[in-house]
Every structure is written in structure tokens, then in C-alpha cells.
């Protein structure tokens, strides 16, 4: 009975995540369709990745026929934050909880599902986590598939407009923290400027898109980490 109640709670908390995922992944599907993903492939890539930035980074590299290693490295960098979340989450597992739960719950570490898990008091209760995952994750996969289908049937001006929705989502992630934290604000501006320079100056034409994104991310983040390390009590979220 307790397990049933926990699953129910998880489903309740997972529902708003489902809605948000469905809307946002639609834009990801448009991007995936543009570079040649079928609806099924888009469904599978979202079901197996459950990531926004990492998935978009990977998909856009598929669009330029990048090498597999380049895609792996790009996805690794773009999803590096999940590594830190996973470390944090490991603190929330009771020694009593069977090990295999880690393998399944780890699969669904996204910004939102991680937040739902971390927001609970005490140790991770796997039944609750499965409720959230089971409710939220299909939204991401179905939304992506539907985006591909919509990209096929919509007129080109609408696809051109909708492809901007994903960038809108990225903006909504980076700007609010930038308003509160001057270091992040400066980082965003520097990233905009250097990325524009790297993509518009003929000097960098020989470097592939993926390598540019990886290098810029690593160099700018590392520089910031060295010059302005975060206070030790800041949460990784």
C-alpha cells in the first residue's frame, strides 16, 4: 500500500514535467526532422537520451555528418552537468536500497526529474522516482516524434519560426540565473561574443561545428571556474 501511494505521488509530481517536456521537445523534433531523423528515430533518441541541450547538440552534429567520436565528445560535454547531479543523487540513496535501483533511476537524471528527487525529504524512495519517471519521460519522446511529423506537414515559414522555439527555451534557462548572478551574466555575454566570432570569422572555417562548441564550452567554463570558483555551499543545480 505504501508503495502504491508513493507511485501516485510520483505521478502527480511528474505530470507538470510531462506537459513541459511535451511542449519543449516538439521544437527538438522539428530540429531532428530537419537533419533527417524519422519520427521513430526521434522517438528513440529522446527515449534513450532524455536531454535537451545534449540531444540538440548531438542532433545538430548529425546534421553535418560529424564523426561518431565528435558526437560522443559533444554529448559528453553538453551533458556533463548530469555527472554532478548523479554525484549529488548518490548521497540520497540509503545503504539499504538494492543496487539495481541506482541503474534505473540514474537513467532519468534530467534537470527537472533530478529536482523532483532532490526536493524530497530523506532517502530516495524508488517507487516515487519511478512514478515521476514513468509519467514525465514519455512526454519527451512523444513530443519529439510529433515535432518531426509536424515539421513534415507544416509550411516552411512555420518550420523556420518553430525552430526558434528551442532557442527560446535555452534563453529561458540561462537568462534568469544571469539576472541574479553577475558571473553567469558575464559568461553568457562572453559565450555569445566568442561563439559569434568563431562562427563568422573566416579564420575558424576549417574547424567543425562540434569541435567549436566543445572548445568554446570547455575553455570558457574552465576559465570561469579558475577565475571565479563557486562558493562551496552553492548547490549544483
Amino acid at each position: 500500500m505504501k508503495i502504491k501511494a508513493l507511485i501516485k505521488e510520483g505521478i502527480r509530481d511528474g505530470f507538470p514535467i510531462f506537459l513541459a517536456y511535451f511542449a519543449v521537445s516538439f521544437a527538438l523534433g522539428i530540429a531532428a526532422g530537419k537533419v533527417g531523423f524519422s519520427a521513430l528515430q526521434a522517438f528513440v533518441v529522446s527515449l534513450t537520451n532524455n536531454a535537451s541541450a545534449g540531444e540538440y547538440a548531438g542532433i545538430s552534429l548529425v546534421g553535418v555528418s560529424a564523426g561518431y567520436l565528435e558526437v560522443a565528445l559533444m554529448v559528453f560535454i553538453a551533458n556533463a552537468r548530469y555527472f554532478l547531479m548523479s554525484c549529488t543523487l548518490s548521497q540520497k540513496f540509503s545503504p539499504e536500497t538494492p543496487f539495481f535501483h541506482r541503474l534505473i533511476i540514474g537513467y532519468a537524471i534530467t534537470d527537472e526529474i533530478f529536482a523532483a528527487n532532490i526536493g524530497r525529504k530523506g532517502y530516495i524512495e524508488p517507487a516515487y522516482s519511478y512514478g515521476v519517471m514513468g509519467m514525465a519521460m514519455p512526454g519527451w519522446a512523444f513530443g519529439t516524434a510529433l515535432g518531426v511529423i509536424a515539421g513534415d506537414v507544416l509550411p516552411s515559414f512555420a518550420v523556420s519560426a518553430l525552430s526558434v522555439a528551442l532557442f527560446g527555451m535555452f534563453i529561458a534557462i540561462i537568462i534568469p540565473p544571469a539576472m541574479k548572478n553577475k558571473v553567469i551574466a558575464a559568461l553568457v555575454l562572453v559565450s555569445f561574443a566568442l561563439s559569434t566570432a568563431a562562427n563568422k570569422l573566416p579564420l575558424f572555417d576549417g574547424i567543425s561545428q562540434g569541435i567549436k562548441t566543445i572548445l568554446l564550452t570547455v575553455v570558457i567554463s574552465l576559465a570561469a571556474a579558475l577565475v571565479r570558483p563557486i562558493p562551496s555551499d552553492v548547490d549544483c543545480e
Binding site: 513541459a20 521544437a27 540514474g106 519560426a161 518553430l162 534563453i171 529561458a172 537568462i175 553567469i184 564550452t217
Partner: protein, 104 residues
């Protein structure tokens, strides 16, 4: 070299899963290193910013429309509008600007 989308998907899925599950398997204590923590903290902001600009300007039929969507999106986000609102308004801005441009 011919690339296969299914292999791309497999590579992406494997890398993403390993990132997520490795710490859960191996690390039982928190990362203490300040530089590593800071680096991981900054990465999502930097990588999203790098992927957004100048791509948003190149994604639309007219760069002016993409640029306008960028500015409007930043303003809305700065005023605390939700991700959903920003994600919906940006394409609307593009449609409006591109419509106006064709009439000029």
C-alpha cells in the same frame, strides 16, 4: 564515410547513460574539488549560450527575424516569464517579422 542515424543514436544514448550512472555506481561521496565543481556548474550556461548565438540568427529565413526573437526572448526571460512562454513567443516574433518583411 557514410554515417548511420541509428549508430549516432546508440552513441548518444551510451554516452549520456554512462555520464548519469557512473557516479551512482562508483562515487559514494560528494565531489570536493572546487575547480571541478565550478566547471560543472558553469558548463550548462556556457554551452547553451554558445549553441544559441549565432545559431538563432541563422535558423530563420531572415536574420533580422532571428535577431528580434533573440532580443524579445532575453527580455521576457529577464522579466521572469516561464520557459513555455518564451518558447512560444520567439517563433511568433519570427512569423510576424518575416511577414512584415515580405510586405515591405
Amino acid at each position: 564515410m557514410e554515417h548511420n542515424i541509428w549508430i549516432y543514436i546508440l552513441v548518444m544514448a551510451a554516452v549520456t547513460y554512462l555520464i548519469r550512472v557512473t557516479p551512482l555506481i562508483l562515487i559514494r561521496s560528494e565531489i570536493k574539488n572546487q575547480t571541478v565543481r565550478s566547471f560543472l556548474y558553469y558548463v550548462p550556461y556556457v554551452t547553451l549560450a554558445v549553441m544559441t548565438v549565432p545559431a538563432i540568427i541563422d535558423a530563420t529565413n531572415s536574420p533580422i527575424a532571428g535577431g528580434a526573437a533573440l532580443v524579445v526572448g532575453i527580455i521576457l526571460a529577464a522579466f521572469g516569464k516561464s520557459m513555455f512562454t518564451v518558447a512560444v513567443v520567439c517563433p511568433v516574433v519570427v512569423i510576424l517579422i518575416e511577414f512584415i518583411l515580405t510586405k515591405l
